[in-house]
Symmetry: C3
Subunit: 346 residues, 3 copies
């Protein structure tokens, strides 16, 4: 337990200023870290906290070093280095290989000997679970599911039949992958269910948040490419494709058959309509509603910021008359032009 600053500097390619034999056992915030903790300065908003830190060491950029009252690990990308150091100090728990006595395995399930199957797990026929995978307590895997090596399912995850999950993924508690997409044909005032016979394919290194839902495809598969990160309570509808390394924050949703490119960043509460194409490298800000395809990388917005209701209501009332206001402006412009013409002719 613990590593020295010298070891960290060497392992993560930083320039060390301070005692190489200082032992680090934990991480902390700039303002809260104690003398055995390492912290970082990445966001300029926290720069004023640097002078007062009591951390053992701070990961920071060269330009901030002179203001650091304690040891420092200098690197041009302190946030990334912090992430790597924290990952080394707090590795995920080592799987405890074996199948809990209360788990229920159907015939033909192939579980790697190094995988951990938790209490009350239910595993269907023909399931494959890779080396070092962890299936959290109470999870349910349908027939024919495959779980890649070193993938971790939290407690109470459900993965439906034939869904394929890659390696090194994290499926957080309560997430549901492969339930039916929402498809119905109208039938004389009622709805005829359309069987959802596709599946879901999840690439490597994907993270899926708590209580997030990803539906199986109607005919072909819903695709989550490698490196995608989904936050909590996200909805991914049937036949969506999410490009590699795209991130989606909490409470955002992507409707059916929409394709989202690679490295997109979708903020919390964003709703993306069905059957759109969003190109690579697009960012949508908080709460936007996306109604059209986007074919140009960049930052897109669609939310009006909340303000005092008294003021808001006045502007809303005007908004609801905006079309006629615009007509009035046109009329005024014509009248002015006419007056100007008359003036000229005077």
């Amino acid at each position: 337990m613990g590593v020295t600053l010298g070891e960290l500097a060497a392992k993560f390619g930083c320039e060390l200023h301070g005692a190489a034999d200082q032992v680090i056992t934990r991480v902390g915030t700039l303002s809260g870290a104690g003398p055995d903790a390492i912290t970082f300065l990445a966001n300029p908003a926290y720069r004023m906290q640097l002078a007062g830190t009591r951390a053992a060491a701070v990961i920071l950029e060269e330009r901030n070093r002179s203001d650091c009252p304690v040891a420092s690990l200098v690197h041009p990308r302190p946030y990334l280095i912090y992430a790597r150091i924290a990952s080394s100090l707090y590795p995920p728990p080592v799987p405890r290989p074996g199948v809990h006595v209360t788990a229920v395995l159907a015939s033909g399930a192939r579980v790697a000997p190094t995988a951990e199957i938790g209490a009350h797990v239910v595993i269907g026929e023909g399931v494959t679970i890779g080396a070092g995978a962890v299936i959290g307590a109470g999870s349910v895997l349908g027939d024919g599911v495959s779980i890649g090596a070193s993938t971790r399912l939290g407690p109470r995850v459900v993965v439906f039949e034939r869904v394929r999950i890659g390696a090194r993924c994290i499926l957080h508690s309560g997430s549901i992958v492969g339930a039916d997409g929402f498809g119905f044909a109208p039938d004389a005032g009622t709805w005829q269910k359309i069987p959802q016979v596709g599946s879901v394919v999840v690439g490597d290194d994907v993270e899926i948040g708590a209580n997030t839902t990803i539906d199986r495809g109607a005919i072909e598969d819903t695709i989550i490419e490698e490196g995608v990160k989904l936050d909590n309570l996200v909805q991914i509808a049937h036949n969506v494709r999410l490009g590699a390394h795209t991130v989606i924050a909490a409470m955002a949703g992507v409707a059916g058959s929409t394709k989202v490119g690679e490295r997109c960043m979708i903020a919390g509460g964003v709703i993306i309509m069905n059957s759109l194409n969003i190109c690579d490298d697009v960012m949508f800000t908080f709460g936007s509603v996306v109604t059209k395809s986007v074919d140009e990388p960049g930052k897109y917005s669609g939310q009006l910021p909340a303000e005092l209701s008294s003021r808001w209501q006045k502007n809303v009332a005007r908004f609801r008359q905006l079309d006629s206001l615009a007509d009035r402006v046109s009329a005024a412009e014509r009248a002015v032009a006419q007056l100007q013409d008359q003036k000229k002719n005077d």
Copy 2:
């Protein structure tokens, strides 16, 4: 396994063009279907894929038949016929009657002999489960719950005490029916909980999406009428009534005591405020916020479409000054009118 085109044409009332003895074993998309698959053309956006299809047959309207390079099943409503054919090719799995050895049943539970009770299910006192019903692994049913015949609960569904679910319903994984409504009375800066003593009544042929929540009524019941379809992550608050055959897409919510009529279509992310009345046959588009009752059928919207942030910010800044802009227009109009008057008097 498999059915001939001739059988399908006869059973579903289509006009067959092609070999009646062609065997169909699966469904596919226009572009992806292979020679043993049937597909359909309903959305004109996919019409251009028709010429290249390698499917065994396409379900389509008469007007598209001449462009179809393979066999066709002609019907004026191809999407509905597709839904019916797919349902016949992919029936839900047949229940495996019996109670799993790990399930926990309280005294007095009446489970039909043809029902399937999955692993680790917990069933309360006096529960009634109808013929052919399926209770997915890890589901929990409170005391006095009744589940209608042929209704299917996915894994990890929770149905609270006294809730009544109709026949032929589908409750997807993670859905929760009958948890407490959100009711508190203010009490000197704190909140006094109001017991939620009503229940939930769900009609026949209702589908409830993954991780969707439907709260029990405060005093009387929350009502979900027959044929309602709810997508994932939908919230239905206490004392809501949803009229028959209304559909609600993912991440939409209906707040307390609001009544929604029959055959309404509520798109993803819509928020409907409390204590409203929405009449029959209303459609709300993606992301709308509904703040007033609606007494006229039709299509309603409330979302601003996202656009490039640079452009968006300019319009938002103007929106925040909209009330004063409107005042300026009025002032300009008065000034113009005065100038026009003066002109006339010149």
Copy 3:
């Protein structure tokens, strides 16, 4: 079973008008209550139902008493008194002390003898469960979790390692407390996960809705202060602090590191951005998107109300030209001013 009106009047400090020995066994609505039920009138919208009520008694304000056709309990705050009387008539079920035979307890778990541990529960090492607590069926508690006295977890709740829950809390079914926050550092087009090493601290008398998620802190803890009430499908991100007695309705979310003050009221579907400070006593109305800190108590709004799409589309089209419309108004104003000047000089 049952209590007299005289007992209720004495216990809850009301003035009784009517027979003191009338027995009350249940609550009802003004319109639906029968002759053994008590009801209340608090919202003026229901006043017209008073004359027709068949309840045994109505809790109401003095000013409404003369219109009440049955017995009444008079109090200046009828809704609060209703909440208290209903709570006394419908107490939560008494815990059935003991650990269900199917529950799985790790070594070192300390469960109070009066606590109830449901079927298929999984409890980690070193967990502490207080007197009279109830852990619903299928719930999972990670290592080192502590649950306060008289706290109730519904079925299938997950509480992660080291999370501390106060006394008299209610965690509804499907809620997840302490899953990883959403934190990643960009790394050459991919994302490096940042270990979430903080925890969650939940105060006393907190209620957490069905399928709601509260993430653990990145370094320090996420804090939910006493008396907070969260509805269903709410997302609380890492390092958020919610002040005492704040209420958040369904489908609202608070992004990372945002601090919300005490006694705030956040309506359904509200999205609050990250790293903001919201002061005490702030109300946000349905569907608002909050993009800036708020340092003044009051009511804030940000949603445009849905209207007929035909009308809406016209206003949206104008909104998208709003910046240029404002420029045109400025130009017209200048032209008018020039004409007025010329007029003066004529």
